[in-house]
Structures are given as structure tokens and as C-alpha cells.
């Protein structure tokens, strides 16, 4: 499958709209996730309060991120973790590849992590000669298919049961079946062997606790437990924004995250990892490496408007709620982070020039803001990015720029406004082709024979 690009969003989206299977899968999944989230949120009496508190905690961390990072690092190192800092994706991949090579590793197991998707770690590891296996079922499926995730928490949301069965037949040689249990047990059996053979386990991080140096990871399948405990070495890749000040803060985030993500009261597994094992005879990895990744985050942090992008806890609720995502799915965005929050983050990660279509891929309906557990004002961020784009990107926008110059000229002068409307009224019958984008599928309401203000003048 060819990888879609952020620069071809419009074409990607059109192709997605023609894919009936994809749209069926999306409709089913986003409706289900949406309903489950609503019910789970309604089951907590102080949901709104929790959202405010969570956001306040995130704001606290982000306002003094340097200090919290130092505290986190000091405490993690005290418990035996080794800390690495990476400015960007290339640096992060280098560090991780060198670690794996230095350990003479061949087999790497990975648990689901958007951050490692963001830096395209698998490609780098494979180039370094590693055998990399994704152990989250959804991630495993898309790895077999050679795709990127199409959803933050449900990477294979775009695939139907039948498509997965066909994939398992071609890739794993299993007899054709549509029995979900048979499919999952085949994946499980294959993955167990990989776990047993793994030299290194690589995970992401949901929360880093500054006061204890603990990393916290939530999941439902148990594969993260295995990834972080079975191999001799565990590497955790963590965006620098993932910190919480106190262990007790988890109380709020454990209520918000699973409910927003999958409509669960609690994830099946919560793993708390504080440094390495205390005694040589204890179980667990000998080494814990925590890689702290910037990759554009400090740039987001620096701007007072974009800073709130870093409050995101990657629950994916905004994707399910977004009318655009519901129609086109994640791949159309051409980025690891799709949907509303993706349209906010991606341009800031890879540059607004390369992702200039994404901030416009929204009707600004605000459904994303309504469901966001940390109350990120996504529409406001999209508007900010749009203004950045129109301010900095001149080429290809000459007509639009001119149109708004004239628009402002007319709106500043009622007589120009009225004359333009009158001219439009007289000539609209011949004015067809520029309106095609509208009229291809919708009738256009004509300019009235008598405007409201004309009637007002006539009748008062």
C-alpha cells in the first residue's frame, strides 16, 4: 500500500469516500465508541469538574515543564533508570538503534505507542537489522498489512473482520475463517513466541510521575506487561509533555482516560514502573531506559496559544466525535496523528507548509472540544493555524487573498456591499461555474429579489 501524504489530504479523502467497506467500518466503530464514551462519562457525577481539574494539572506541568522534567529525571535515575534526551526523531532513532546494537539484540517486541509511530521507529530498527514485532493486536494487524494506524487507540479501526481474516491467511498461513476467537488465538500464539525470543521490549508512556520517577502505561491486552517485563532490557519512549506532578494526580486521569478512549471505567492493566528491579534475583528487566523526546514539543510549548496542544492525553475521543473523521477515517490525514487533534499536532510537528490542508479539514463544529477530557480548544487551535498559514504561505493563495481583500473592502462600505449584491442578483444566472463546488450536489439558494434592508427601507 502506498503511504498517503498530508499534502494530498483532499485526494486521500475523496478516495476514502468511495470506499464503502471503509465507511461501513468507520461508521460502526465511531458510533460505538461515541456511545460508550457518552455512557461512561455520564456514569461519573463530577465529570465536568474532573475535566477542569485535569486541565489545571496539565497547565501546571506545562507552565513549569523544565522543573518537572528535572524532578522526574532525578527520581527516575535514583531508582536505576537510565535517561536519554532526544531533540528530534532522528536523534531518538539513533539512540534506540545504538542501544539495541550495543546489547547485541536481534529481536525487538513493541507495545502500542503513538510516539514511536511519530518517529517511525520501526523503519529505523529494521534498517539496523532488527526483527521488530508489534504486540498490540491492532498494531500487529496493521504491521502485517504494512500500514500506519488510522486511529490513536484503535489502529486497525478501518479494517473489517473479513479483511483481517484474509490478511491472516496470506501473512500467517492460517486457514480462512471468520471466527474472531480463532483469529485472536492465532495472533496470540504467534506473539507469545515472539515475546519469549525478544531481547528488547520497547513501549510508550501514558504518564510520567515527577515526584516518584514512575512511568505509567495503561492497556487492555496484557501485551504491555509482557513487553516491559519479559525482555532483559526495556526502552520507554516518552514525549516530554507526558508528566504529571504527583502520583495522586493519576486518580483523575485514570477516571478520564479509559472512559474517553474506550468507554471503560478502568483499563484492564495499569503498569507502574519505577526504575529497575531492586535485587538481582527479582523478576523483570535488568535495564530500564527512558527516552525523553522533544521533536517539536518545546516549540509548541513556547507559544501561548499552541501550548494547550501538549495537554492531549491521546484518548482519541475527538476522532470518534469528528464528522470529518467519521467520513474519511485516519489514513486520509496522511499523518500518524489523524482527526481533529492530529490536524492540530501534525502541522506543528512537520511544519505548516507540509500539512497546510489539515487545519482546514474541519467544519469547526466543536464536537471535538465538547468531548476532550482535558478541554483542549481544538477549533481555536485550528483557527490559529489557519491564520498562521494565510500569514506565511503566499504561494497558491493569491486568489483567496485577493478575494478577502475585496470582501473587506466591500464590508467596510455598505454601498459597495449593496451594489455587489445587486450585481450578483442580476447576473447570478450566468455565474455558474465558480459555484460548482457547491452546486455539484446541492442546489444554491439565489440572492433575493429584494434584500432585507430594501424591505426595511420600504416598510420599516
Amino acid at each position: 500500500m502506498t503511504r498517503m501524504s498530508t499534502e494530498t489530504f483532499s485526494e486521500n479523502a475523496k478516495a476514502a469516500l468511495r470506499d464503502a467497506q471503509l465507511r461501513g467500518a468507520l461508521r460502526h466503530a465511531t458510533t460505538l465508541f461515541g456511545r460508550k464514551r457518552r455512557e461512561a462519562a455520564a456514569s461519573v457525577s463530577n465529570w465536568e469538574e474532573l475535566r477542569n481539574e485535569a486541565r489545571a494539572i496539565k497547565d501546571e506541568v506545562l507552565s513549569q515543564l523544565d522543573r518537572y522534567l528535572e524532578t522526574f529525571v532525578t527520581n527516575a535515575e535514583k531508582r536505576g533508570a537510565k535517561i536519554h534526551w532526544a531533540r528530534d526523531a532522528a536523534e531518538a532513532n539513533d539512540i534506540i538503534c545504538q542501544l539495541t546494537l550495543a546489547h547485541g539484540a536481534r529481536n525487538v517486541v513493541k507495545s502500542k505507542s503513538m510516539t514511536t509511530e511519530e518517529i517511525h521507529l520501526n523503519t529505523a530498527l529494521e534498517r539496523a537489522g532488527m526483527q521488530v514485532v508489534e504486540t498490540d493486536l491492532g498494531e500487529y494487524i496493521i504491521q502485517l498489512a504494512g500500514e500506519i494506524p488510522s486511529h490513536i487507540i484503535a489502529p486497525a479501526i478501518h479494517k473489517t473482520k473479513r479483511q483481517i481474516a484474509e490478511l491472516f491467511t496470506t501473512e500467517l498461513g492460517m486457514p480462512p475463517t471468520d471466527d474472531v476467537n480463532a483469529l485472536t488465538s492465532t495472533a496470540r500464539a504467534t506473539l507469545r513466541q515472539r515475546f519469549a525470543a525478544a531481547d528488547i521490549g520497547i513501549s510508550g508512556v501514558n504518564f510520567g510521575i515527577a515526584e516518584t520517577g514512575t512511568i505509567v502505561i495503561v492497556e487492555n491486552e496484557g501485551n504491555i506487561r509482557l513487553t516491559t517485563s519479559l525482555p532483559r532490557t526495556h526502552i520507554a519512549v516518552m514525549g516530554i509533555e507526558k508528566l504529571l506532578p504527583r502520583f495522586a494526580d493519576l486518580d483523575i486521569f485514570f477516571k478520564l482516560l479509559p472512559r474517553s478512549a474506550a468507554g471503560q471505567a478502568l483499563s484492564t492493566y495499569q503498569s507502574f514502573i519505577t526504575g529497575t528491579k531492586r535485587n538481582a534475583s527479582d523478576e523483570g528487566p535488568d535495564e530500564l531506559h527512558i527516552l525523553l523526546l522533544d521533536n517539536g514539543r518545546s516549540r509548541m510549548l513556547a507559544h501561548p496559544v499552541t501550548r494547550q496542544s501538549l495537554a492531549c492525553i491521546r484518548c482519541g475521543a475527538c476522532l470518534n466525535a469528528c464528522p470529518v473523521y467519521q467520513q474519511v477515517g485516519g489514513h486520509a490525514y496522511g499523518s500518524v496523528y489523524p482527526g481533529p487533534i492530529g490536524s492540530v499536532i501534525t502541522p506543528q510537528l512537520i511544519g505548516i507548509q507540509k500539512a497546510a490542508q489539515l487545519p482546514y479539514a474541519s467544519s469547526l463544529c466543536g464536537a471535538c472540544r465538547e468531548v476532550c477530557p482535558v478541554k483542549i480548544d481544538i477549533p481555536r487551535l485550528l483557527l490559529h493555524l489557519r491564520s498562521e498559514i494565510s500569514r506565511t504561505q503566499r504561494s497558491g493563495r493569491a486568489r483567496e487573498r485577493l478575494a478577502f481583500k475585496f470582501w473587506a473592502f466591500a464590508m467596510m462600505r455598505p454601498w459597495v456591499y449593496e451594489t455587489t449584491a445587486r450585481v450578483g442578483r442580476g447576473f447570478q444566472r450566468w455565474f455558474k461555474s465558480p459555484l460548482k463546488a457547491w452546486t455539484n450536489a446541492r442546489d444554491l439558494r439565489p440572492i433575493e429579489a429584494e434584500s432585507f434592508r430594501e424591505q426595511w427601507r420600504r416598510t420599516r
Partner: protein, 240 residues
């Protein structure tokens, strides 16, 4: 109570009956209605497309015109344009004087249905309309201005009207201003989910608080040759 009408450019030029209905309903509710003919647009098209300088220019003009009015309230038949006026302060982050003026005008600006219910405390305007109808929550009214029960209370008091909810009343219709022509295929795909629910509801009319959504929904219904009509809340409330 004296009311200054902010009619919006869309209603002015494309849906004048929404404006005249507003005037009628407000007068019937006891308001003195004025209309300042210098008004044009609130600046939303430019603001939403990223042209802040142009939006700021037009917003300043809007503020100058409406702050001069002696009316008790500025009322608009659009949740979206009202929300834009409430967003004005975002345009004047570095200008305390204009920021204050923007806030002051914003605090006096109301969307039509919320003005009737919250300010005038009127729930029944004496309207009659015979038939089955449903309501579409326009996004900015719903999510920026928190308008949900107000139009429903007004509709329930329309004699002869049988009000039914569609399951996706709160979902976007896919309009989104320039979004509807930048990504027309996505816009229409979103719209079709709305249309599906409307058709299933077996209604004769869809009512909403924003002419833009009604243009979108109505444009598709009429293209499909549907007999279902679209109506602004002001038009419904003015029907006797």
C-alpha cells in the same frame, strides 16, 4: 425593550423572510426594533479562513456601529454570527481598549431564541403551524452559546406543530463556511447522514437557528427532490 437587529449578511441577501419574521416576532413580544443600515458582516468568513487582519477591520466597524446604539440588546437570527461577535476579543489580544469595547458589545449580543427565552422570558409567541417537524442544532449556537432547550421550548408552544427529535440533532450538517466549498465531497457526505435521519423521521419541515445550515440542508433536500422544507425558527414563530 429596545432591540437593535444584527441581521447578518446572509439573511439580508439570501433569506430576507428570516429578517422580517424576526422583526415581527420581536415586536409582538413587546420590543421596539431598530435596524442600523450601516451594518454589513461580522467578519466570520475571514476569521474562519485565517484572514485575521481583514476580520479585525470588519469587526472594529461592527463594534463602532453597535456600541453607538442606545438599544438594550443586539439580537441576531444566527447562533454562528452571534458566536463570532462573542469571539471578537480574540482579535484584540494586544489592544486593551478595543478588547474592552469588543467585550462590551459581545455582552449585549444575543441569538434570537436565547433572547426570547433568557431575556424576554417569553416561551409562547402565539404561533401556529400545522405539521410534523424536527430541529437541527446549529453547531455554534449549541456549543459556543449553549443553546439547546431554548428553541425546543419555543417550538413546543407552536400550536398544531408536532415536534419530533432526530437522533443526530446535535451532529454537524457539514456546512462549516468555506469548508463546504474547500472540501465539498466531505461536506456532502456529512450532510447525507443528517438528511438520512431527517427523512426517516417522516417530517414535513426541518427547523434551525442558522440560515447557513438551512441552506446546506435545504440545498441537498431540494436537489434530491424531497418535499421536506427547511425553515428558520423565526419564520416558524412568525407563522400564524
Amino acid at each position: 425593550m429596545k432591540v437593535s437587529l444584527f441581521i447578518t449578511c446572509l439573511v439580508d441577501q439570501l433569506w430576507s423572510s428570516v429578517g422580517t419574521s424576526c422583526v415581527e416576532v420581536l415586536r409582538r413580544a413587546g420590543c421596539e426594533v431598530e435596524f442600523d443600515e450601516r451594518q454589513t458582516c461580522c467578519g466570520q468568513p475571514a476569521f474562519n479562513t485565517g484572514y485575521r487582519d481583514e476580520a479585525r477591520q470588519v469587526a472594529k466597524r461592527f463594534i463602532e456601529i453597535f456600541e453607538a446604539s442606545t438599544a438594550d440588546a443586539i439580537v441576531s437570527p444566527s447562533g454562528s454570527c452571534t458566536a463570532m461577535v462573542h469571539h471578537f476579543p480574540e482579535l484584540f489580544g494586544e489592544d486593551p481598549q478595543w478588547l474592552e469595547r469588543a467585550r462590551s458589545v459581545g455582552s449585549r449580543t444575543y441569538e434570537f431564541s436565547s433572547f426570547l427565552i433568557r431575556v424576554l422570558k417569553v416561551e409562547d409567541v402565539g404561533a401556529t403551524w400545522n405539521g410534523r417537524l424536527t430541529w437541527h442544532d446549529a453547531c455554534h449556537g449549541l456549543r459556543d452559546l449553549n443553546i439547546k432547550s431554548e428553541p425546543r421550548r419555543l417550538i413546543r408552544n407552536v400550536r398544531g406543530a408536532e415536534f419530533v427529535e432526530i437522533e443526530n440533532a446535535e451532529s454537524c450538517c457539514g456546512f462549516g463556511g468555506t469548508f463546504s466549498v474547500k472540501y465539498p465531497e466531505i461536506s456532502v457526505a456529512i450532510l447525507d447522514q443528517k438528511i438520512e435521519a431527517i427523512e426517516r423521521a417522516g417530517v414535513e419541515a426541518v427547523v434551525s437557528g442558522d440560515a447557513s445550515c438551512l441552506m446546506q440542508i435545504g440545498g441537498r433536500l431540494s436537489r434530491k427532490g424531497s418535499g421536506i422544507r427547511v425553515m428558520h425558527l423565526a419564520e416558524l414563530l412568525n407563522h400564524r
